[in-house]
C-alpha cells in the first residue's frame, strides 16, 4: 500500500495555477524527488503534504488516512527546510529534543534519543553548540536529526542543500541517502538540481507547469525521457529536429542518419532526435566520411575534468552536435580541427512532434 497518495491535487493562487491536478503514489521506504525549475509547483506540492497550505481541490492521504484537513502539527511528518530553521535560542541537542518535549517524553529518554540522532548525523560533539556556532552544513544536519527524532511516518526535504557550497552538498546528500536507507523512512525530496535528484532517489518526478511530466527511476528518466521538456531538463541532450526517412533513418538538415528508433515510423513525420553527448564519437577527419556520420569542425572544446565537451558544427552551420569525450582524446581536437562525429544507431531516442504543433522549434544548439 502506498504511504502517501496525492489525488488530483490542485492549488490556485488567484489567477495563478500552482498545481494543476497531480496524482502521485509513494510506497513505504521509498525516496521520491520532485524535480523541476522554479515555479513548477514542487514546493507547493510539498507544503500541501506538510499541511502548511490547503489544496484548492484534491486530497492528501497518508497511511490510508485522509489528512487534507489535518493541521501540520498533527500529521506526524518531519521536515527539513531550505532556510536554516534551527531555533536560535536552543542548543543543537535542545533543538533535536524539541519535538520529543512537545510529545511530553521523559527528560532522560529525550536526551538519550537526541544524542543518538546527533551521533547518526555525525554531530555528537556539537550537541551543546548554538545554531550561530555551527556551519550551514552542520545546521542542516541538526535539522535532519531534529526532523527524525519524532520518528515521523514521512520525511519531507525542501531543497535542504541549496544554501550550501558544492562540496558540502555532495557530502550531505550522500549522508541523507545513507540515513534514509538505514532508517527505511519514506521521503519526499524537493530540488531543482537534477544531479542531486538522480543520484539519491528511487524515483524522480519531473514537474512543469504544475503537473508531473514524467515519473520513474533515475536511469529511466535519463535514458528514456518521455517528453521534450524532460529531455531538455534532465542531463545535457542534443536535440536534432529531423524528419523520418526510409528504412530506419532520419533526415537531419539534409544529412541522412541511421536511427533504429525510426523503424516503423511514418515517412516524413517530424521528430525530435535526442542524443546524449556521451554517446557521440568524434574522430579527426581523414578525408572519408562514413554513411550516417557528420563532417564538421570543432567550434569549442571545454575542459570538464575527466571529460571534455566538444561542439562540432558542419561548415554551413546548419548542423551541430555536442559530444562528451575523454580529456585524453580531446586534447588534440583543438578549435578549428576538422572532425567527423557519429553515434551508434541504437542510442538516440525519437520523440514525435506530430502531436505537438505548439512545441517551439528547439534551438539547434544542444544544451
Amino acid at each position: 500500500m502506498a504511504v502517501v497518495e496525492l489525488k488530483q491535487l490542485h492549488r490556485r493562487f488567484g489567477e495563478v495555477v500552482a498545481l494543476a491536478g497531480i496524482d502521485l503514489d509513494i510506497g513505504t521506504g521509498e525516496f521520491v524527488s520532485l524535480l523541476g525549475p522554479s515555479g513548477c509547483g514542487k514546493t507547493t506540492a510539498l507544503r500541501l503534504v506538510a499541511g502548511f497550505d490547503r489544496p484548492t481541490s484534491g486530497r492528501v492521504v497518508i497511511d490510508g488516512q485522509d489528512v487534507t484537513d489535518v493541521p501540520p502539527n498533527r500529521r506526524d511528518i518531519g521536515m527539513v527546510f531550505q532556510a536554516y530553521s534551527l531555533f536560535p535560542n536552543m542548543t543543537a541537542v535542545r533543538n533535536v529534543e524539541f519535538g520529543l518535549r512537545v510529545r511530553k517524553q521523559r527528560g532522560a529518554d529525550r536526551n538519550r534519543r537526541a544524542l543518538e540522532l546527533l551521533d547518526l548525523v555525525g554531530l555528537a560533539q556539537a550537541a551543546n553548540r548554538y545554531p550561530h556556532q555551527l556551519s550551514g552544513g552542520m545546521q542542516q544536519r541538526v535539522a535532519l536529526a531534529r526532523a527524525l527524532a519524532i520518528e515521523p511516518r514521512l520525511l519531507l526535504l525542501d531543497e535542504p542543500l541549496s544554501a550550501l557550497d558544492a562540496k558540502v552538498r555532495v557530502q550531505l546528500r550522500e549522508e541523507i541517502r545513507r540515513i534514509q536507507l538505514e532508517l527505511g523512512i519514506t521521503t519526499i525530496y524537493v530540488t531543482h538540481d537534477q544531479e542531486e535528484a538522480l543520484s539519491i532517489s528511487d524515483r524522480v518526478a519531473v514537474m512543469s507547469g504544475g503537473q508531473i511530466e514524467q515519473i520513474g527511476p533515475p536511469a529511466e528518466m535519463y535514458g528514456s525521457p518521455a517528453t521534450p521538456f524532460v529531455a531538455e531538463f534532465i542531463g545535457t541532450m542534443n536535440r536534432l529536429l529531423a524528419t523520418v526517412g526510409d528504412d530506419g533513418s532520419i533526415d537531419y538538415a539534409g544529412l541522412r542518419l541511421r536511427v533504429d528508433a525510426a523503424r516503423g515510423l511514418p515517412r516524413g513525420e517530424r521528430v525530435l532526435c535526442l542524443v546524449r553527448p556521451e554517446t557521440v564519437e568524434v574522430v579527426r577527419a581523414n578525408g572519408l566520411v562514413a554513411e550516417g556520420a557528420m563532417a564538421g569542425e570543432v567550434l569549442s572544446n571545454t575542459f570538464l575534468g575527466s571529460t571534455s565537451r566538444l561542439r562540432v558544427a558542419s561548415e554551413s552551420g546548419e548542423r551541430s552536435i555536442t559530444a562528451d569525450i575523454s580529456t585524453a582524446q580531446g586534447v588534440d581536437l583543438v578549435v578549428g580541427t576538422k572532425v567527423v562525429a557519429s553515434f551508434p544507431p541504437d542510442s538516440p531516442r525519437l520523440l514525435s512532434l506530430a502531436d505537438e504543433p505548439m512545441f517551439p522549434v528547439p534551438d539547434p544548439d544542444s544544451r
Binding site: P72, F87, P88
Partner: protein
C-alpha cells in the same frame, strides 16, 4: 601576540568632549545635591537622607513602578501576538499599524488626557478613579509606538515563517510555538520595548498630574518646586533607577551564550 590597536589622538579628543558633555551636568548635579539645605555648604548626604526617609518618595515610586509593570504586561500581552500574526499572516498591514503607532507621538499628551478622561467618563469607579485602571490604560496608548517598533524590529530579525513551520512540523501548537520558539527569540526586542515603557511611565508628568494621581514624576516636580538641594538628590536617584533598569536589560540580554566544550570549535 596581537598588536595593540593604536587610538587616534582626534578620537581621544572627541571621546573627552563627548564624555564631558554628559558627565559635567551630572557632576554639577551631584555637587549641588551634596550642599546643606540650610547653609548651602558642601558636603553632606542629608538631602539623600531626606528623600530616602520621605514616605512620599517610596509610595510614589512604588505606585509608578507598579503602573509601569502593569503597562508593560498589558502591552506585551496585546502586541506580541498581534505583531507575530501580522508578520506571519498579514504583512501587508504593517504600514497601517506603523502609521497608527505614530499617532501617540502626534497627539499632544494634554489633548490625549483630556480626550481619554472624556472617553472613560462613566466607567466604573474602580477603574476611572484608580491609577492602576485609568492611568495604566492611558500609558498603554503612550507605550504603543515604543513597544510596537521594538517588537517589529525584533520580528524582522528572525525568520518568523520558517521557525513557525519548523515548530509546527515537530508537533507544536500555536501557543507552544509562540511561547517556546518565538518569544525567546524576540526577548531582547520585548525587553527593549519594556524598558522604554518603564522609562516613559516613570517620567510621565502631564497626564498623571492632570488626572490628579500622585506618581513619582509628580513627586519629583513637587520636590523641584519646594526643596532646592534635595531636588538635585532626587534627580540623581531617578537617573540611577534608569541606569539600573538599563543594566538589567544588558544582563538579561546576555544570558544566551552556551558553554562550549574545549576543542569543539
Amino acid at each position: 601576540m596581537t598588536p595593540r590597536r593604536r587610538i587616534a589622538p582626534s578620537a581621544v579628543v572627541w571621546l573627552f568632549l563627548g564624555s564631558a558633555y554628559f558627565l559635567i551636568p551630572l557632576l554639577a548635579t551631584l555637587l549641588f545635591s551634596l550642599r546643606n539645605d540650610q547653609t548651602a555648604k558642601c558636603c553632606t548626604l542629608a538631602n539623600y537622607s531626606y528623600i530616602l526617609h520621605d514616605p512620599d518618595f517610596w509610595s510614589t515610586i512604588k505606585l509608578s513602578f507598579i503602573v509601569a509593570l502593569e503597562t508593560i504586561a498589558i502591552t506585551v500581552a496585546l502586541l506580541v501576538p498581534t505583531v507575530y500574526w501580522v508578520h506571519l499572516k498579514v504583512p501587508r498591514l504593517r504600514p497601517l499599524i506603523s502609521f497608527l503607532a505614530l499617532v501617540p507621538f502626534v497627539v499632544a499628551p494634554i489633548i490625549l488626557v483630556v480626550g481619554l478622561l472624556d472617553v472613560y467618563r462613566g466607567t466604573p469607579e474602580w477603574f476611572y478613579a484608580q491609577p492602576y485602571g485609568f492611568l495604566a490604560a492611558v500609558y498603554v496608548v503612550l507605550a504603543f509606538p515604543f513597544m510596537y517598533f521594538s517588537l517589529d524590529t525584533g520580528f524582522r530579525s528572525i525568520d518568523v515563517h520558517t521557525l513557525t513551520e519548523a515548530s509546527q512540523s515537530l508537533g507544536a501548537s500555536w501557543p507552544t510555538t509562540l511561547w517556546r520558539v518565538i518569544l525567546p527569540n524576540i526577548k531582547a526586542a520585548a525587553l527593549a520595548g519594556s524598558f522604554l515603557t518603564l522609562a516613559i511611565v516613570m517620567g510621565e508628568f502631564t497626564i498623571a498630574s492632570l488626572a490628579q494621581f500622585k506618581t513619582f514624576s509628580v513627586y519629583v516636580q513637587y520636590i523641584n518646586q519646594n526643596k532646592t538641594y534635595p531636588a538635585g538628590a532626587i534627580t540623581l536617584l531617578a537617573f540611577g533607577i534608569t541606569w539600573a533598569a538599563m543594566l538589567a536589560l544588558l544582563a538579561v540580554g546576555r544570558g544566551r551564550q552556551a558553554p562550549i566544550t574545549e576543542g569543539e570549535k
